[in-house]
């Protein structure tokens, strides 16, 4: 088919430069890096090219498995909370009159214009012993002495949630916004209460976007090492910290690459799951 070939050519021309960049600058270096997991570390850093599977057996030591498990729990918790907070927020924004919609969306995106690191340090000021939150609470007489708000797993969850919530809100907002209002009217017209309409029509049709939001929040939360460091005080170690430490402190590239593989596998599995669910709800 000549038409098919023509559009293939056009596709190649448009996609070509991007694909070449992606392959040369992201995929190839990543594969090179990952390939080191089959080799040994050198005594003074670097890689000795002798085949070994030791890195994998080391991965399954309880120490590392615990960190991976902790990271999954923290990232999972952050994702669920982001979904519970983000969905109603996105839904509410989509119902606003156009002018307020713009303002609300701006408010959601505003934090993105500030450096992530600075935002996290701002939280330490807010939550520290003599910080704003404790001052306020003692000020109104709710508590007698400052609470220990910093440097625990809860703080890490709060920090990650704050950092990535907008990645949940935006895709859900666009899905709710795109949803034909007549579908909800049709549902009401057929006798469904507003609650029923939400669960039978609105939610199923916006679920694929909520899942995209979930992946967007989960993946960077899972691999984050800044928040556990600053807000967790180094006490709550996550996979991201582990990878960074292997590369920068222990100079053990092969093992660092092995842990990095875990992250990639988790991400790919999540993306596949998202794709499968979306296809099922949308299937035409």
């Amino acid at each position: 088919m000549s038409r098919g070939r023509g559009s293939n050519l056009a596709r190649l021309i448009f996609l070509g430069p991007g694909l070449i960049m992606l392959t040369l600058l992201a995929v190839v270096p990543m594969l090179l890096m990952l390939s080191t997991m089959f080799f040994q570390r050198g005594r003074f850093g670097g890689v000795v090219y002798e085949f070994t599977t030791a890195n994998f057996s080391r991965l399954f030591q309880p120490l590392y498995l615990n960190v991976i498990q902790d990271s999954l729990v923290v990232a999972g918790l952050v994702t669920v909370l982001a979904l519970l907070i983000g969905y109603p927020t996105a839904y509410a924004i989509a119902q606003l009159p156009p002018k307020w919609k713009t303002i609300a969306l701006l408010a959601v995106m505003l934090p993105f214009w500030t450096n992530f690191l600075i935002r996290m340090y701002a939280w330490t000021i807010l939550l520290s012993g003599p910080g704003l939150v404790n001052e306020a609470l003692t000020g109104i007489g709710l508590i007698d002495k400052p609470l220990d708000l910093l440097y625990n797993r809860g703080t890490v969850v709060v920090g990650l949630l704050y950092g990535y919530l907008s990645l949940m809100i935006l895709p859900i907002y666009s899905a709710v916004e795109r949803l034909d209002p007549r579908l909800r009217e049709a549902s009401a017209n057929l006798g469904a209460s507003p609650v029923r309409t939400f669960f039978s029509v609105t939610l199923p049709l916006t679920l694929p976007s909520a899942l995209i939001g979930a992946v967007l929040v989960f993946v960077p939360s899972f691999g984050n090492f800044v928040v556990p460091e600053i807000l967790g005080g180094g006490k709550a170690i996550m996979v991201g910290n582990l990878i960074r430490d292997q590369f920068l402190k222990a100079r053990d590239w092969p093992f660092g690459a092995t842990i990095a593989l875990v992250m990639i596998v988790v991400t790919v599995v999540l993306l596949l799951a998202q794709a499968v669910v979306s296809r099922r709800t949308r299937s035409a």
């Binding site: 034909d180 007549r182 009217e185 009401a188 017209n189 006798g191 309409t197 029509v201």
Partner: protein
């Protein structure tokens, strides 16, 4: 028996008047049409009946009860949306069953009724498809099935056939009428297509700028329009503005025209259908003109006549091919009783 009575309903959106003091009574079992150009308020009226809009003033009674007090999902009124609004994530059968499931009916009954209604609209083999896998005509029938399966007191149809091509449209018109007889539900259809309204409806309310101009049977609307708008909007018409003095209608710039004055003296308009216009040998005292265009449409021919002193051309229709040629000077006349006088 009056099923639905709309009493003095008004609705404004900002400065725009969508409905202005609209009153209509609709009978049980009737096929009723709301007809008018876009923006005439007919869709707003439909949305008020469905509960998606509330009027600023006025009332709506269904079976004697106040309809406006009921939430949209509690009204015994179903709406077939112009865009169909089928649920894309559900199969055809699920779409149709949706309304019945909300009534908490037993599963077996839901299944039986869904099967029955799908058979009625000829879509049984498509029951397990998704809306996106159907053609426009099939989607339309799903929307119809979904709306009638609940056996509502009143079925509202918003431009039901506008998205279909001409041939499917004619089929669906017949099907709609057959279905209405079969299920005995009162239909209210909103349309801007007068042919659709004329062929489907028992009675039509012609609307313009938020007002009801005339409510009548199609034939009456065509033969006896009561307002200038209706005379102009329904079918082709020749309209002359002028005044009645001493029981004789005189058009501006033309003088007296054949008519039987039934209305009082005063400013008035005269309407005469093209098929009632007769072209003759010109005689003195008669309206005269020059034939400027003859178009042959198979069954009928349209002849346009340029009349001096008149802004628009007079249109005459004759059966078969016209033997007249452009350039001929003709007399334009009609039987006095065929002309309709409309008081301003």
């Amino acid at each position: 028996m009056t099923l639905l009575s709309i009493e003095g309903v008004s609705r404004k959106f900002g400065n725009v008047t969508a409905l202005s003091d609209v009153s209509i009574d609709i009978q049980q079992g009737e096929f009723f049409a709301l007809l008018g150009p876009s923006g005439c308020g007919k869709t707003t009226l439909l949305r008020i009946l469905a509960g998606f809009e509330t009027p600023d003033s006025g009332g709506v009674r269904l079976d004697g009860g106040d309809l406006l007090k009921l939430a949209p999902h509690k009204r015994p009124v179903n709406l077939m949306f112009q865009s169909y609004a089928l649920f894309p994530h559900m199969t055809v059968a699920k779409n149709v069953a949706y309304g019945l499931e909300r009534e908490n009916l037993p599963r077996a009954e839901i299944k039986a009724r869904v099967g029955e209604v799908l058979e009625k609209v000829g879509l049984e083999p498509m029951a397990n498809r998704r809306p996106a896998q159907l053609s426009g005509g099939q989607q339309q029938r799903v929307a119809l099935a979904r709306a009638i399966v609940k056996r509502p007191r009143l079925l509202l149809l918003d431009e039901p056939l506008s998205a279909l091509d001409k041939k499917v449209r004619a089929e669906m018109q017949l099907e709609l009428k057959r279905l209405q007889h079969e299920v005995g539900i009162t239909f209210v259809v909103v349309t801007h297509d007068q042919e659709e309204a004329m062929s489907l409806a028992d009675r039509i309310a012609v609307m313009d700028q938020g007002r009801v101009e005339q409510v009548d049977a199609p034939v009456t609307l065509y033969d006896r329009p009561r307002t200038y708008f209706v005379a102009d909007f329904i079918g082709a018409n020749n309209l002359f503005t002028g005044a009645i003095r001493g029981g004789v209608f005189s058009a501006e710039g033309l003088g007296p025209l054949p008519s039987k004055a039934t209305t009082a003296d005063g400013p008035s308009a005269l309407a005469i259908r093209p098929e009632r216009v007769r072209l003759t040998e010109p005689t003195p005292g008669m309206v005269q003109g020059v034939v400027v265009d003859v178009s042959f449409y198979g069954g009928v021919s349209h002849i346009a006549v340029e009349v001096t002193g008149l802004g628009r051309k007079v249109l005459a229709a004759t059966q078969g091919s016209a033997r007249i040629t452009p350039g001929t000077v003709v007399g334009v006349t009609w039987r006095p009783e065929d002309a309709v006088l409309i008081a301003n």
